[in-house]
């Protein structure tokens, strides 16, 4: 017989139904593997859940803070101080001009007399004011912007525009604390992002390591499966599904942790809000965020398992 005989191919076809049934079977048997050591699996899942919940909670905090700011913004007004000796008629004209502006929702005019009256009622200096001949207070217009929330930059432009009117001495908004507040929420947001990246890595490593231990514990089994003709894909599959379950369950645990934390915070927050005549409520996770988190942790789980399998399957040849 010639050594150069044509090599005969192998039959590697598998019926689609068989293929599907096989995947379904492995999906649930890998779930069974988790269940075989409930305590160990639960501890791992809790650690993973906390790791996912941390950045997620921070993200939720930022969202709520921003919502809080937006609610306060809509109530905020811009104070426009008019020049001294501006007469009543000029003020009326200015108010009418401003009212045609799209960006302005409402204008309240406070005349020097009204201002003095308020001042008298609220100030201990009332008697001192009596001594003044002239009313030193200017006309003030309180302007309520139409937008509930105006970015700091746009607000600056708006103030400049108001000051361009010849009658206007000064336009003021309590911009500083808004800017500071937004600065702080930006920092928290960035911190949440950094934390999310770091803890994703941690999730990847934890799942990878868990699967690695699992693989080493099943070394004999893997070698015997290879011995009877099990492909790498066949051996890999249950571990990948195990990674899938770790990812899924840990993200669900994270959701539960977030939910419980929000529940614990709900009452104190409502109480605080009521002190400020606000009906502010904690808002939960958006459905897209929820699905995104579950999806990414499932992917992390599969990826972690994949890495572990690739590092260790090669050196497990039967002999």
């Amino acid at each position: 017989m010639k050594a150069r005989k044509r090599q005969q191919g192998f039959n590697r076809r598998l019926r689609p139904a068989t293929w599907l049934a096989r995947h379904a079977q492995v999906l649930f048997s890998s779930l069974g593997r988790l269940w075989q050591r409930p305590l160990g699996s639960l501890m791992t899942l809790l650690v993973l859940g906390i790791a996912i919940a941390l950045p997620l909670g921070l993200h939720l905090l930022v969202n709520n803070l921003q919502q809080l700011v937006s609610q306060w913004d809509s109530g905020a007004s811009i104070s426009v101080f008019l020049k001294e000796n501006t007469d009543e008629k000029t003020v009326k004209t200015l108010v009418r001009t401003l009212q045609t502006e799209q960006t302005i929702r409402d204008i309240r005019h406070v005349s020097p007399q009204q201002a003095m009256e308020e001042f008298r009622q609220h100030s201990d200096f009332a008697s001192a004011l009596e001594l003044l001949d002239d009313n030193p207070l200017p006309h003030v217009l309180l302007i309520y912007p139409r937008d509930a929330k105006i970015p700091a930059k746009k607000l600056q432009v708006f103030l400049q525009k108001l000051e361009n009117h010849p009658e206007v001495e000064l336009a003021l908004a309590d911009l500083q604390w808004v800017e500071r507040f937004q600065g702080i929420t930006h920092i928290i947001q960035r911190a949440a992002l950094v934390l999310a990246v770091l803890l994703s890595l941690a999730v990847l490593l934890i799942i990878g390591n868990t699967i690695r231990l699992e693989i080493q514990g099943r070394r004999d089994e893997i070698e015997i499966i290879k011995l009877v003709g099990g492909s790498n894909a066949f051996i890999r599959r249950p571990f990948l599904y195990e990674g899938f379950w770790y990812g899924l369950f840990s993200s669900l645990i994270a959701m539960v942790l977030i939910f419980l934390s929000a529940l614990a915070l709900q009452n104190p927050v409502s109480h605080l809000a009521s002190l400020y005549q606000s009906d502010f409520q904690l808002s939960g996770l958006a459905i897209t965020t929820t699905l995104g988190v579950i999806g990414s942790s499932v992917l992390l789980g599969i990826l972690g398992a994949w890495i572990a399998v690739h590092q260790h399957l090669g050196d497990m040849e039967p002999d």
Binding site: M1, A3, K5, Q7, Q8, F10, R12, L14, R15, T18, W19, A21, R22, D220, E221, E223, I224, I225, K226, L227, V228, G229, G230, S231, N232, F234, E317, P318, D319
Partner: protein
């Protein structure tokens, strides 16, 4: 069909292995492999089952050139070669049934088919009643028969056995040989390594004798010349 063309196998840091072995086993043959300890019997079987690769020369099994086999095809070749070991290599946490079913599961057979074939294989080795027990509860001879059932369940054209009777008493050894002979009668090619010379001689089959990695004697070619 098994064919070796000037096959050498050396292990790093060891003088043992195989040296320039050429042989040809036809389909349906039953062949014994003998020799002293360390002669290279296990090494030769491992080359056939692709547990090791040859250092030089070409190995052919079932018309596949193993020297040129792609890594992805290794599992497919192993499905065509049933292997039996002295230490059985069973999964300790699976039932006898699941152990025997393993080659069919990895090959992707359906449930019904697996059931039917496993029962047939267990029936052949007279272990049908023990299908639901764990291997540890079985005697050495019974465990060996589980290993044999696993090796033949997928009806591979070639079956290799490395010291299949190593730990068994003469009577059990004879039963096992009887089984092998039955497989051989339905066309399975068998290659059995053993140093139980009395057993080998009683079978009156072709005998390959190895010594220090070389093929010392082939009973068939010595008969014909």
């Amino acid at each position: 069909m098994i064919r070796f063309d000037n096959v050498s196998k050396s292990y790093p840091g060891s003088s043992g292995g195989l040296r320039e072995v050429s042989l040809h086993i036809l389909p349906g043959e039953m062949v014994f492999l003998t020799g002293h300890s360390g002669a290279g019997k296990s090494t030769l079987l491992k080359l056939v089952g692709l547990l090791e690769r040859s250092s030089r020369g070409q190995v052919w099994v079932n018309k596949h050139n193993l020297t040129r086999l792609k890594p992805a095809d290794v599992p497919l070749l192993r499905r065509e070669v049933g292997m039996i070991f002295q230490d059985h290599r069973l999964l300790v946490d699976r039932t006898v049934f699941d152990n025997v079913a393993l080659p069919l599961v990895v090959a992707g057979l359906g449930h019904q088919e697996i059931r039917r074939r496993v029962q047939a294989a267990l029936d052949k080795v007279s272990l049908l009643k023990k299908a639901r027990v764990l291997p540890v509860t079985l005697s050495g001879g019974e465990q060996q028969r589980v290993g044999i059932a696993r090796a033949i369940v997928s009806k591979p054209p070639v079956v290799l056995a490395d010291e299949p009777t190593g730990n068994l008493d003469p009577e059990l050894s004879h039963e096992i040989m009887q089984l092998f002979q039955e497989f051989n009668q339905v066309g399975v090619t068998l290659l059995i390594a053993t140093h139980d010379l009395a057993l080998v001689e009683s079978m009156q089959k072709r005998i390959l004798t190895l010594e220090q990695g070389r093929l010392l004697r082939d009973s068939r070619s010595s008969e014909s010349t």
